[in-house]
């Protein structure tokens, strides 16, 4: 299930949301152009659900049957989510007999090949402003020592 939040990189073509109607239009565009076949739920204009779950632009949570949080990641890695689900469900769709749930936190560094062209194409779909503002942000991050 996918929850549509806010446009992280608004531009001339896909601007920031100033009405719920515009937000719905953005969600429909996402479904059409990104080909998302899962259900898409649309958060309210103030981002109430997004705020409750931590405001990151591309995060994934897994909620166990019954409503307890089983997994949260501030950046979506399909491979990590899949590997977690295989372990969590034990290949049986339920908690293996005799096991006890325990919680621990992991932070990790991954090495990946950045697909800059694909990302820039996405930004361009939102508009040239989105590209220019991301480049400015990169300079800010460099000044902050974040990159």
């Amino acid at each position: 299930m996918f929850i549509y939040t806010r446009e992280a990189h608004p531009g001339e073509n896909v601007p920031h949301h100033d009405s719920f109607e515009r937000k719905l239009a953005g969600a429909e565009l996402l479904r059409e152009e990104a080909g998302i076949r899962r259900d898409i739920l649309v958060d309210d204009l103030a981002g109430t659900v997004h705020r409750a779950y931590g405001l990151m632009p591309n995060m994934t949570w897994v909620i166990a049957q019954g409503g307890r949080i089983a997994y949260k990641a501030d950046w979506t890695s399909a491979a990590n989510v899949e590997a977690f689900l295989v372990r969590f469900l034990g290949g049986r769709g339920e908690r293996p007999p005799g096991t006890t749930p325990v919680m621990y936190e992991t932070q990790q560094i991954e090495f990946r090949y950045p697909d800059r062209k694909r990302f820039t194409d996405h930004l361009l779909r939102n508009g040239p402003l989105a590209v220019a503002e991301f480049e400015k942000a990169q300079k800010l991050w460099a000044q902050q020592g974040a990159t």
């Binding site: 109430t48 469900l89 402003l129 991301f134």
Partner: protein, 75 residues
């Protein structure tokens, strides 16, 4: 709709990403994530509209099986 609600919506839906970063918005978001409910705690429950269908209560989705929730947007 009150002024506070309008302000909250305007702050959340920033129009310029570089200004958002310059004002520390991305860092605040990271902090918000780590301050959010932890594994083992109850997940916040909400009812949301679904594209092309009726509204959905999250707890109805995780009642009988685990639920994977991905958050995102076009970019």
């Amino acid at each position: 709709m009150g002024e506070a609600q309008r302000d909250a919506e305007a702050m959340y839906n920033y129009p310029h990403f570089d200004n958002y970063v310059a004002n520390g918005g991305d860092m605040a978001d990271e902090a918000a994530f780590w301050a959010s409910p932890r594994a083992g705690q109850r997940a916040p429950d909400f009812t949301l509209p679904r594209l092309g269908g009726p509204g959905v209560r999250l707890s109805d989705l995780w009642r009988s099986k685990p639920l994977v929730m991905e958050f995102g947007s076009f970019t």
